[in-house]
């Protein structure tokens, strides 16, 4: 791979909360068009890394380069406008607005933030709601829709921003197996359609393994392994820290 292909370059970032090293010198790169899975036990620092990269949290040290630009000191809205965005693990809908308005805000202020024409933005929002299967719910208030739909909406909102790299933070948490299946399909289709680069944070192993080109494993704020899904499953440190022996065996047998 040529270095040009690296769209996101995370260089030795750390976040310390007092004595706790939530993220400790983590370095990784994401290449254009790939899906990178980010896994690890609870408290490993997955969401913290997302917060550091998108500017929601201040880094203790380290730097983040996006498309060759140093975005370490930028605010979240500036980072969002150049095409790096995220969904939230705990959904953050814009309360009091309809589903359509939520997506519309993404469409108005995202990467194409020069979009000043409301009608044009509305059209774009409708198109994206159709893509994720929300068109029937467009006039519902966000307080009236179910969790899977909220997660869809978060995804739609992010898509409406027309990003290049998206951090999907547990978009499947709380979904039942058939909804997970659906969601996986959706992510695959949309990734192709929009040529997205995705960093995928998930606990549902089936989903991560099935979707990722490459997986990064975190434990106690440190990167303990990086490689293809197969390599990760074979890695003894990962099995010890996260997967467990039985699961690793199961995956091996299935392959």
């Amino acid at each position: 791979m040529v270095d040009n292909d690296v769209i996101l370059d995370v260089r030795s970032i750390s976040k310390h909360f007092g004595a706790l090293k939530a993220v400790d010198k983590v370095t990784f790169q994401v290449r254009r068009g790939e899906i990178v899975g980010l896994i690890g036990p609870n408290g490993a620092g997955k969401t913290t890394i997302t917060n550091l990269v998108t500017g929601d949290l201040r880094k203790t040290e380290g730097e983040v380069y996006f498309k060759g630009t140093n975005v370490s000191k930028m605010q979240p809205f500036q980072i969002a406008r150049i095409g790096l965005t995220r969904t939230y693990q705990v959904v953050k809908p814009l309360q009091g607005m309809t589903v359509e308005e939520n997506v519309l805000v993404g469409s108005l202020f995202g990467r194409s933030h020069r979009e000043n024409d409301l009608n044009h933005a509305k059209k774009n929002a409708r198109k994206i709601m159709k893509l994720v299967g929300l068109d029937k719910k467009k006039d519902s208030k966000v307080s009236d829709i179910t969790l899977p739909d909220l997660k869809r909406m978060e995804f739609a909102r992010v898509l409406a921003m027309d990003p290049e790299v998206v951090f999907l933070d547990e978009v499947m948490a709380g979904l039942n197996p058939s909804e997970v299946e659906e969601s996986m399909e959706m992510v695959k289709v949309i990734r192709k359609d929009k040529q997205l680069t995705i960093v995928y944070i998930e606990h549902i192993m089936k989903a991560v393994m099935g979707i990722s080109d490459r997986i990064i494993v975190l434990h106690h704020g440190q990167k303990i392994c990086e490689g293809s899904p197969q390599e990760v499953c074979d890695n003894p440190a990962v099995i010890e820290a996260y997967l467990g022996r039985r699961y690793a065996k199961e995956v091996m047998n299935n392959k």
Binding site: F77, A80, Y88, G96, L108, H113, N116
Partner: protein, 326 residues
């Protein structure tokens, strides 16, 4: 679509008719009612400004009266130096905007109660400047405006029209703001500030701009009020009651709607006029109880509740149509 246009036209016809009625009204009613209406228009303007900050953006600016006072005082000071009102007023409004921007950057980092309390503190600080800079402001004794050499009745009619115009213009501008891209930014901040920021909204810029806009119209109301009263003192124009009243009006009329503050101003001023004449000492208690009842039982306010009903009915009708068609 066509139906929407029709509805829109009917609304416009109603609004224009109301405007014409209010412009002609001074010819038909006594000075007492003119005074009440003038106060209603003034409160509606301030309530509209607070509505932008609180109803739409979620930041309750309790000390917002500071801009009212700044508008009144700077207009008075400049007119005292010989400037005509038409020049003094815009300069006062400009200074209010400058103050709002300077204060906005630090204060709008705070949220909720902290923001409300900080603005009260700032109002206190500015008020004490007005009280103590005696050479410029006349100190705690207050200051006067040049006397208008016209018959009082005519003067009151002019102020009636000026405040009416201010209220209409403020409402119109707020309408365009909240329905614009900027307005979506403002509403997103109320809905969820972190999410708004991560969606590409420059929240600091949006918050400070919204505050500057509401400071602008509040300060114009202040300048007009001072000229109308022809005498102002610090504890009068920096009185938090202006804001408290406006907040109650906004809540009762419907926070987060454009007609809400106007409806609220009409309701509260009429009730308070009635309560005032009925039982002098208890009128604040009546207002207080009414407010609590409204917040508990009709949290959307009058206008909010009505529009919600209409919206729900439309959705229900659409659903019915879908069922029968499909």
């Amino acid at each position: 679509m066509e139906q929407n246009n029709k509805k829109f036209n009917i609304n416009i016809v109603f609004i224009i008719a109301a405007i014409v009625v209010f412009i002609l009204l001074p010819n038909f009613v006594s000075g007492y009612y003119i005074r009440i209406f003038t106060a209603i228009f003034m409160y509606a303007t301030i309530a509209q400004c607070i509505n932008l900050m609180s109803g739409y953006m979620g930041y309750l600016p309790f000390g917002h009266v500071m801009f009212f006072g700044i508008g009144a005082y700077i207009t008075a000071i400049l007119m005292g130096r010989g400037l005509p009102f038409i020049l003094a007023m815009p300069l006062a409004a400009l200074s209010a905007i400058v103050v709002s921007i300077i204060l906005g950057f630090p204060v709008l980092r705070l949220r909720g109660h902290y923001f409300a309390i900080a603005t009260i503190g700032m109002n206190g600080a500015i008020m004490s400047v007005a009280q103590n800079a005696t050479e410029i402001t006349g100190g705690a004794m207050g200051t006067t405006y040049p006397i208008i050499l016209l018959p009082p009745g005519q003067v009151y009619n002019y102020f009636y029209l000026a405040f009416f115009g201010l209220m209409v213009i403020t409402a119109l501008i707020m309408y365009f703001i909240v329905n614009s891209k900027f307005g979506y930014g403002i509403r997103s901040i109320k809905a969820n500030e972190e999410a708004a920021n991560s969606m590409g909204i420059n929240t600091t810029y949006t918050k400070v701009s919204a505050w500057a806009i509401s400071a602008l119209f509040t300060s114009i109301a202040g300048g007009l009020y001072g000229y109308w009263m022809s005498f102002i003192s610090p504890d009068e124009v920096f009185d938090l009651m202006f804001v408290t009243n406006s907040i109650i009006m906004m809540l009762i009329g419907g926070a987060g709607t454009i007609l809400g503050p106007i409806a609220g101003a009409f309701i509260i001023e009429s009730v308070s006029e009635f309560a005032w004449s009925g039982f002098m000492e208890y009128h604040l208690a009546v207002l207080g109880i009414a407010t609590i009842m409204i917040v508990f039982f009709v949290p959307g306010g009058v206008i909010g509740t009505i529009t919600n009903r209409i919206k729900n009915r439309r959705i229900a009708l659409n659903k019915k149509a879908e069922v029968t068609n499909g």
